[in-house]
């Protein structure tokens, strides 16, 4: 093999990420000295990025393997030799376009609220979506030199939740942001969910259920505990702990449903890494906790409960309602249903949720809503946070992360690009607005 061929191979293997430090140095030196090799390297990079873009544009749903196995189970159970055609309906009927297209669609759909001139020629003046919390507890009097533990809490609901703090003060409100004296409880209203975020964990509390906020393990990080009813718990990068009776459960980059049954509390991880007692459990397993003992068993077809998704949906709607004010019912009649359906699919899939969340943050960061009030930008950030609850950057497919990085680079070179994008977005919004107006929205 000639020296030239060796260098070309190095240039290609560079994109496999397996060059040694010595090989890297050799390639760098050669690239610096050889314009033809630089041109080839740029060509190879174009091919590499093209395939990466194809991968990001056409990911498989995260639960694709699970769907195949579920379909196999059905097929095996049927034993009727119906052939593969019988299981086509296992696939979702909605169009799987692309993760990026889906993210752009969410930006479009949510953007309708923020940029939607068709709803109102004069957008409503909005109050900040949530009250700012300070050092003072969000409820109860401030006691000078009060040493009781407190935690920064965010709780959102479309109805009035009941918050009782460690000092015995109670309040009923739809949103809480700020310091709360521990241990505290949050009881969801009878007809709405509550999303509670504290100490790196997020809980969805179904209607009527109660969650306790306390530092169970005295490590300075508050925990979320199910007191009454069911609970869905999510964690991001940080490990989140909870307990049922004296059984400790922990979760990292994942979600877990705690469901009360006649036989005890059933814990079902839906994704990520979970442990119950000293046992690692996967999303294909569940644990029945009875008293202080538990038993792990297979859970072949785990399904995230609808209410776990509905809770986040409610919290998003709350933000939209704050932004739109009196115009909200009109929005709900025209676009609410399609947005809801899109969001349900996204919230149930960590990969899509992570991508969409970061996409929304990306656009706000780059000035997409700079001509809107800060309260609207904050509402958009809140929505992005809610969509991305329980996910981390690691949930964003690698090629999509690479695409974000490329976009960042493009924007550095051409800061006006975001304005072009905003213009395109606005035109698309107007077209959709026209479409909905024509449909009588």
């Amino acid at each position: 093999m000639s020296g030239r061929e060796e260098l070309e191979l190095l240039s290609s293997r560079f994109f496999d990420g397996d060059l040694t430090a010595q090989e890297n140095a050799r390639l760098e030196a050669a690239l610096a000295a050889d314009p033809e090799l630089r041109e080839l390297h740029a060509d190879l990079m174009r091919a590499h990025q093209g395939v990466a873009m194809l991968a990001s544009a056409h990911p498989l749903p995260q639960d694709f393997t699970r769907r195949i196995l579920a379909a196999l189970d059905q097929d095996t159970a049927a034993q009727a030799g119906t052939g593969p055609g019988a299981v086509i309906h296992q696939l979702p009927k909605r169009h799987w376009t692309t993760l990026i297209a889906a993210a752009a669609a969410v930006v479009l759909a949510i953007g309708l609220v923020f940029g939607a001139s068709y709803l109102s020629e004069n957008p409503p003046t909005v109050a900040p979506p949530v009250a700012k919390g300070g050092e003072k507890p969000v409820i109860g009097p401030e006691v000078v030199q009060d040493t009781r533990p407190r935690a920064e809490v965010v709780a959102l609901s479309s109805g009035a939740m009941r918050l009782t703090d460690g000092a015995g003060a109670t309040s009923q409100q739809t949103s809480v942001t700020g310091q709360v004296i521990l241990p505290a409880t949050v009881q969801a209203p009878a007809d709405a969910h509550v999303l509670v975020r504290v100490g790196g964990g997020t809980a969805i509390v179904p209607p009527g259920a109660t969650v306790r906020l306390s530092d169970v393990d005295a490590d300075g990080v508050p925990n979320l505990e199910s007191v009454d009813g069911d609970l869905y718990l999510e964690s991001g990068d940080k490990q989140v702990s909870t307990r049922v009776n004296n059984v400790r459960l922990s979760l990292r980059r994942g979600g877990m449903t705690l469901r009360r049954t006649e036989n005890g509390v059933v814990a079902e991880p839906s994704f990520g890494f979970a442990s119950i007692g000293s046992s690692q459990v996967s999303f294909r397993q569940s644990a029945l906790i009875n008293g202080d003992t538990f038993e792990v068993s297979p859970c072949p077809n785990p399904v995230l409960d609808d209410w776990a998704v509905e809770g986040r949906l409610d919290a998003i709607k709350l933000q939209l309602r704050d932004v739109l004010g009196a115009e909200y019912p009109k929005f709900e009649q025209t676009l609410g249903k399609s947005l809801e359906s899109m969001l349900r699919g996204i919230l149930a899939n960590p990969s899509e949720a992570a991508t969409n969340s970061r996409m929304l943050h990306f656009f706000v960061k780059h000035g997409w809503l700079d001509d809107r009030p800060e309260s609207e930008r904050q509402a958009m950030r809140n929505i992005a946070d809610i969509i991305g609850q329980g996910t981390t950057d690691a949930d964003v497919p690698v090629p999509v992360r690479q695409l974000f990085a490329q976009l960042e680079e493009e924007l550095k070179k051409n800061p006006d690009a975001i304005r072009d994008f905003a213009r395109m977005m606005r035109e698309a919004l107007e077209r959709r607005g026209d479409h909905h107006r024509k449909r009588g929205g």
Partner: protein, 180 residues
């Protein structure tokens, strides 16, 4: 993933004896590569997902017929291609409707990226078979040199050369997207 065809062979043998976990590992290893292979042929994400799913199900139920367990991947692709051909006719009319719906629903960002993605998909479909296989195994099955070589019947060194040539060929086809 670093597992190679020996492991694929072992997994196929385990799956044949009823070990579902082994089959699950095979599915998760090859599903994306099979899907992209089908996508490069059909250009239709939804139909490609369907045939990918059904190809694995057919593979599971006919695993005993696979003569070379190490060739599991290409065997599944063969099944998927057959399924796709069989269904092409019956869904042709539906496709036209879906394609127009897809265009209507595409967002602004999708419009920016779709052209290039489509060009990449077409370019991959036009590559010589061993180039395409090497690229798809590398990028979508997350296989590396030795494992790809065993599947293609060439040495690890030859795989690096194939990948270099495949990237060159792809870059040539994507010349229109090169910066001026």
């Amino acid at each position: 993933m670093t597992d190679g065809p020996e492991d694929t062979q072992a997994l196929v043998l385990r799956a044949r004896s009823g070990d579902k976990l082994a089959f699950e590992l095979l599915v998760s290893r090859y599903e994306h590569g099979v899907y992209i292979h089908m996508l490069s042929k059909t250009g239709d994400p939804e139909r490609s997902q369907e045939v990918t799913q059904d190809a694995f199900i057919t593979a599971y139920t006919t695993l005993a017929r696979l003569e070379k367990p190490a060739s599991f991947r290409s065997w599944v692709i063969g099944i998927a291609l057959n399924l796709s051909r069989r269904r092409k006719k019956e869904v042709a009319n539906l496709d036209l409707l879906e394609a127009s719906a897809e265009k209507r629903e595409s967002g602004a960002l999708a419009a920016i990226t779709n052209e290039k993605v489509d060009a990449v998909r077409r370019a991959i479909a036009e590559l010589p078979e061993n180039y395409r296989d090497a690229l798809l195994m590398h990028y979508f099955d997350k296989q590396r040199g030795k494992a790809i070589g065993q599947e293609l019947g060439v040495s690890e060194g030859a795989v690096h050369m194939i990948l270099l040539r495949a990237r060159k060929a792809l870059a040539e086809k994507l010349q229109a997207f090169a910066p001026e």
